[in-house]
Amino acid sequence: MMDEAGRIVASGLTKRFGAVTAVDDLSFAAGPGMVTGFLGPNGAGKTTTLRMLLGLVVPDAGTATICGRRYAALPEPGRVVGAVLEAPGFHPARSGRDHLRVYCTACGYPLRRADQVLEIVGLAGAGHRKVRGYSLGMRQRLALATALLGDPPVLVLDEPANGLDPEGIAWLRDLLRGHAVSGHTVLFSSHALPEVEQLADRVVIIYRGRLAGQGTLAELAGDGEAVSVRTPHTDQLITALAAAGARPERTGPESVRVTGMAAAEISRIARLQKIDLHELAAHRSQLEQVFLRLTTRPAGEEPAADHPRGDLA
């Protein structure tokens, strides 16, 4: 039991809605001490998967466990798992504080816990207002407050950054990071790669309901971003860039591939050294390449490809 503490395990999860297989034999795990991003384009099956983890949707096959048990079999689920669902729902005529107090009562927490979590998510001043007056970002914060009520070690968040402004995303990153650093588990879904790159340590990529890849950001990103440069003065440039701490390598008589330095910095150094550049192109990170390759696979390539291409937009 101990080694299952804080672990989320999906194995062989399958869910069909009519003729559409939303999730197809999906297995992955997320462990404590890190933030795991669950990445995939819209319609890939992320929400259905997370809802199966949380016992809201019954899988046609496979199992999902959190800390070794099905969600519904957890004795006090609110004290183990905090969840934020996609487009979280609130009664528009109920205040944020009352919303939280409803679930304090249902779970047997003291009512003052509602005020504490409002404080944590930065909504203390808005708690008495009806939810219909909340912005998208405030609703997202209220959903997170609801998830935090039971002070759970495991967080499962479906598109938590939706509706947050850059400041809100920075706040979310600190919150998730702090949760993971204190040895807890965070699994969050996103369709946006930059979000995952900003927030996650480890990524599970899903495409058309199937596992497309998983690993740490470093594993998936390889050497990081590479910049290719074309110049008649390759030797000079390589010397200058190496002296500045980059890792240049010659790839042709007039071309150099540089890792470990941004394109802007390369351009600045070349200008200072009066080296002509004929071309300067930043390559996408390998994670982005992996993601794009996986998610722009032509329709019909897979036997179960009953999603129209438009789904992937």
Binding site: L56, V102, T105
Partner: protein, 254 residues
């Protein structure tokens, strides 16, 4: 179960809907009683004289009795609101044993229905007692079986609350549930119960059985006795509650 019912009561009382329904029920109760007393000449044929037991029964059954269908509407809106506003997911995350959540809702609206009826009775008595006394018509709640009628009104509204919650859990859609329930009670059932070929069994329809319970009778329609009507109405309601619970336990919350 107690914390869950507490949470359901908190849901009920943290929006204003209950207040509007209470005001509507009190307005119907007092309005109906005021009109009935003002226009009761004793031989209008629409209503027996208020000096007699039959007239007093009708007054007390129909006035505060409006609380019944309104309790059903309140419950149906409350339960379907969880799906309409997508709070059902949060509710079932807090309590994955969904049967217990539905059970707590049924208890909550049973009590809410009873409370609504009680409030409507008090409102109507504030009109009925002073006015009839002023008209020189003695009315005593403890006489003529009036107390039984008032108890039946409370029981009926409590059962209506459970029925509305069960129907809401079964149907899910808010507008469909509320309009469906009202159309059934006020259009379909009155039409069916006037088909003479069906006369033998229309008294067993849920709404007609509820009227049998409170003896809010109309001419030309056959009604059950209060006890039998109450049992039949409660059976219909239990079936709705069971079906609603099953549907809610097994549905995917997407």
């Amino acid at each position: 179960m107690m914390p869950l019912a507490g949470a359901e009561f908190r849901k009920l009382f943290t929006t204003r809907l209950w207040l509007w329904v209470l005001l509507a029920s009190a307005a119907w109760a007092t309005g109906y009683c005021a009109l009935a007393i003002a226009f009761n000449t004793g031989n209008s044929g629409l209503m027996p004289p208020l000096s007699g037991a039959a007239g007093q029964h009708a007054l007390l059954a129909i006035g505060p009795g409006g609380a019944g269908p309104l309790a059903g509407v309140l419950a149906a809106i409350g339960v379907t609101g969880e799906f309409r506003h997508r709070t059902a997911a949060t509710t079932f995350l807090a309590t994955p044993r969904r049967g217990r959540v539905v059970g707590a809702k049924l208890v909550t609206y049973l009590l809410a229905g009873g409370g609504l009826a009680l409030a409507s009775i008090l409102a109507s008595l504030m009109v009925v007692l002073p006015w009839l006394t002023a008209k020189g018509i003695p009315i005593f709640l403890a006489e003529n079986g009036n107390l039984s009628v008032l108890a039946a009104v409370i029981a009926s509204a409590a059962i209506f609350g459970v029925a509305g919650a069960g129907l809401g859990a079964l149907a899910g859609g808010q507008l469909a549930t509320v309009t469906g329930m009202l159309m059934y009670l006020y259009v379909a059932e009155p039409l069916i119960s006037r088909i003479s070929a069906l006369h033998g069994w229309t008294a067993y329809l849920p709404g007609v059985a509820a009227d049998g319970l409170t003896q809010a009778t109309q001419p030309g329609v056959r009604f059950l006795t209060p006890w039998l009507g109450g049992v039949v109405f409660a059976c219909w309601t239990a079936a709705l509650a069971a079906a609603g619970t099953l549907r809610t336990v097994h549905r995917d919350i997407t």
